[in-house]
């Protein structure tokens, strides 16, 4: 019988205790008017917010103290993360570094890289972008063509990356590039490097999304010189590292809470006396969300124990993305309004407008729905 490694074991008391602390911090941020929940999302880049979150001790929670971290469990970090998402906090300036790049550098980076970068990540002062996709390799990562060639103790990188979120504002990219031949399984010859965006040889071209918003970029490397110390993992081991990274990238509550604030605004807009249609559909969404919260916490517990639950993580992302993709479509049927980005004073209309325009990305970023279903199918023994 097919079974998955989910469980309803509660989060430890230590993690639930952290919830109160992060709520105090977020309440103070809101009271100071530092962000407007229904206008932000976890990709919203706000360096000031990340710096304050770092100073308050909410970034680098699992990092060793030697690198400026707080040596808490992954489940404390999980709770802090979901509270930030539920509050609609603008996490874009620390999200990638805290979620995946920092942990990757800690596990596989050189000592020099750890010392130079991790303390700044923990302070909320160092933003990372992900350099995986390329113009000719979106979901098909094995087709990466950007190449790094040996040059003495350094490497010279030439090529380009695309869909790089906030590349124009980040300090570093963690990029997957080709250092050798792909081999029969196409997974060989790939290596990860830390790219310093301030160094010469990198240029960034903005790509505006369909709403005119600038978050995406294309990044070009021309004889970009990177020292050996900025290699993450061994030469040729990039594929394995990226796969491991994706389990973290795919199972978090960011995979189903992207538009949580729209759900909040919807409930308030419906008011305390819903009609039957509104009650049924709202209840349906909340029941789906309850299941996802349980699944996501389960995967967090497995990750915390050192298990890499690839299929369960892919299930969280696939089911989670389908949920968050459906929220605006349901919301618009429950309250007859016309969505608008300029409906100031009408948070539901504004939130619906913003989410409608962002929602196509939910089932693309971090692996498309179709790629995720392939991963699940492999886990089910179908390929």
């Amino acid at each position: 019988m097919q079974s998955f490694r989910f469980s309803a074991e509660p989060l430890p008391a230590e993690a639930e205790a952290a919830r109160a602390a992060v709520r105090v911090f977020l309440d103070a941020e809101l009271a100071a008017g530092h962000f407007v929940p229904h206008r932000t999302s976890w990709t919203t880049f706000d360096a000031g917010f990340s710096r304050r979150a770092g100073a308050a001790g909410f970034i680098g929670l699992t990092m060793p103290a030697a690198y400026g971290g707080h040596e808490r469990s992954g489940l404390v970090r999980f709770v802090v993360t979901e509270e930030m998402l539920a509050a609609g906090a603008p996490c874009g300036a620390h999200w990638i570094s805290d979620r995946q790049s920092g942990p990757q550098i800690l596990r596989h980076g050189s000592e020099a890289a750890k010392r130079a970068i991790l303390p700044r990540i923990c302070r909320g002062e160092c933003a990372f972008g992900i350099g995986m996709s390329e113009p000719n390799s979106g979901s098909d990562l094995a087709a990466v063509r950007t190449r790094a060639a040996r040059d003495g103790d350094d490497w010279l990188i030439n090529g380009s990356k695309i869909w790089t979120t906030n590349a124009h504002q980040v300090d570093y990219l963690l990029a997957l590039v080709r250092t050798g031949e792909p081999g029969p399984d196409r997974h060989g010859g790939l290596t990860q490097f830390i790219i310093d965006m301030a160094a010469p040889g990198v240029t960034v071209r903005p790509i505006l999304d369909l709403s005119g918003h600038h978050e995406f970029n294309e990044v070009f490397f021309t004889d970009y010189r990177v020292p050996d110390a900025m290699m993450v993992g061994a030469e040729g081991e990039g594929w394995g590292l990226v796969t491991e990274e994706l389990a973290f990238e795919r199972s978090g509550p960011d995979r189903f809470l992207s538009d949580y604030r729209l759900l909040v605004e919807l409930v308030d807009r419906i008011g305390p006396e819903p009609d039957r249609f509104q009650a049924v559909e709202t209840g349906r969404m909340v029941a789906q969300l309850t299941a996802l919260l349980g699944m996501s916490a389960s995967v967090a517990r497995l990750l915390d124990k050192g298990v890499v639950p690839g299929v369960e993580a892919a299930l969280v992302k696939d089911v989670g993305n389908s949920f968050e993709r459906a929220v605006p479509e349901i919301a618009r049927r429950l309250v007859p309004v016309e969505p608008s980005l300029t409906a100031q004073g009408e948070p539901f209309r504004e939130a619906l407008g913003g989410v409608t325009l962002r929602a196509p990305s939910f089932t693309l970023r971090g692996g498309t729905r179709e790629v995720l279903r392939g991963v699940i199918a492999r886990g089910l023994g179908l390929r």
Partner: protein, 376 residues
């Protein structure tokens, strides 16, 4: 109950393994395809498999969730839920799930352990009770009672003249007005309860965790049971579809190699995983203040998943799965029945939605987090 250390967990796991193994042996011994067919009301008059029930009853399994102090096995609710899921997987044609939950609910209300099969009366038209000199008398009708004509006792939510809800055990059920079946051919009898009597100690106040405004404890326990069974039946469907996709050759290769098929099965697996997560939560909440809300979430999510999983798995099986001969229908006809019993998914979604809207947007997140947190 929620403050177990590792040693106790280990002991509980050992007991759980023993009980689940024992159940497996009983199923292997007694539950043949012939028995399943004979008990299927869609084929013939649904038989009551007396040998199987006697074996189950002798094993003490009906008292799985009754505490040891009340003469039960005292399994943890998560293990009892696995037992009930196994009933769902195997299409067990007996009210063992109803008896497990009903006996535990009755014990939690201070009643003694039942000696025979017990069923749960779904909320329908209100059942009223009136105090008499030597006990209570009932007035009302009950519809779609699982094995209502075959069991020794019924649990029903009944209302007195002051509008107060009571948990009532009826050990001399009224006449069967109408023997009916659900789509899976399981008995769902209509009973006339008017004139049935209950002794003083057969009328109790339900434990406060088990009921809420508008939801009686029997209805909630029934929904909790069906959510677990739905998970079991969905597991059977998915496993069968996976096997079929790996074995069935079309256009020169196994179905499993077609991307369209892979994506359908991945989607079904997502529904099963989400339904399982919600049923796990409900299982963990048996006996605490989150029980009714967690049960609402589980019945809502499992009920929604059931339709998708049945549809996808039938499509994968092709025409073969649409036959009486192929066992898939035992699982899918139960999915189509159970999702509507003890409140459809839409009914529970409506309850959740009304509660969420009444609380307002800001209260939603703390409610979700409290629901998932331990009862501690």
């Amino acid at each position: 109950m929620n403050t177990t250390n590792h040693a106790q967990d280990g002991a509980a796991d050992e007991v759980a393994d023993i009980v689940l193994d024992q159940f497996e042996r009983l199923l292997a011994q007694h539950l043949s395809p012939q028995v399943l067919a004979a008990c299927d009301g869609a084929v013939d008059d649904a038989a009551w498999p007396a040998d199987l029930w006697r074996a189950l009853n002798d094993s003490g399994l009906p008292l799985a969730l009754v505490p040891e102090a009340a003469d039960g096995i005292g399994l943890e609710a998560r293990t009892a839920a696995l037992l009930i899921r196994r009933c769902g997987q195997a299409a067990l044609p007996l009210p063992l799930p109803e008896t497990i939950a009903g006996a535990a609910l009755w014990a939690a209300a201070g009643g003694g352990a039942p000696e025979d099969a017990l069923t749960l009366v779904p909320a329908g038209s209100p059942v009223r009770i009136t105090r008499r000199a030597d006990g209570f008398v009932l007035d009302g009708r009950a519809a779609q009672v699982p094995w209502g004509g075959s069991v020794a006792a019924l649990l029903v939510d009944a209302i007195d003249a002051a509008g107060v809800r009571h948990l009532v055990r009826i050990t001399a059920p009224g006449t069967v007005r109408d023997p009916r079946h659900n789509l899976a051919g399981e008995p769902r009898d209509a009973l006339d309860l008017t004139g049935c009597t209950a002794a003083i100690d057969e009328v109790r106040t339900a434990p406060d965790w088990a009921a809420e405004v508008g939801v009686g404890s029997v209805e909630a326990a029934g929904a909790w049971v069906r959510a677990q069974q739905l998970v079991g039946a969905m597991e059977t469907c998915l496993a069968s579809a996976l096997d079929h996709a790996r074995e069935r050759q079309q256009f020169g290769r196994p179905l499993a190699k077609f991307q369209a098929i892979q994506h359908m099965l991945a989607e079904a697996a997502g529904h099963v995983a989400a339904a399982t997560a919600s049923a796990d939560l409900a299982a963990a909440c048996w006996g605490d203040a989150r029980f009714v809300l967690a049960t609402a979430m589980a019945k809502a999510r499992c009920g929604e998943a059931a339709g998708h999983v049945a549809e996808i798995c039938h499509q994968i099986h092709g025409a073969m799965g649409f036959t009486q001969e192929h066992p898939l229908h035992r699982a899918t006809r139960r999915l189509w029945s159970w999702r509507d019993e003890f409140g459809s998914d839409a009914r529970w979604q409506e309850r959740i939605g009304r509660a969420v809207c009444a609380g307002g947007g800001t209260a939603l997140w703390p409610m979700l987090v409290r629901l998932r947190a331990g009862a501690g």
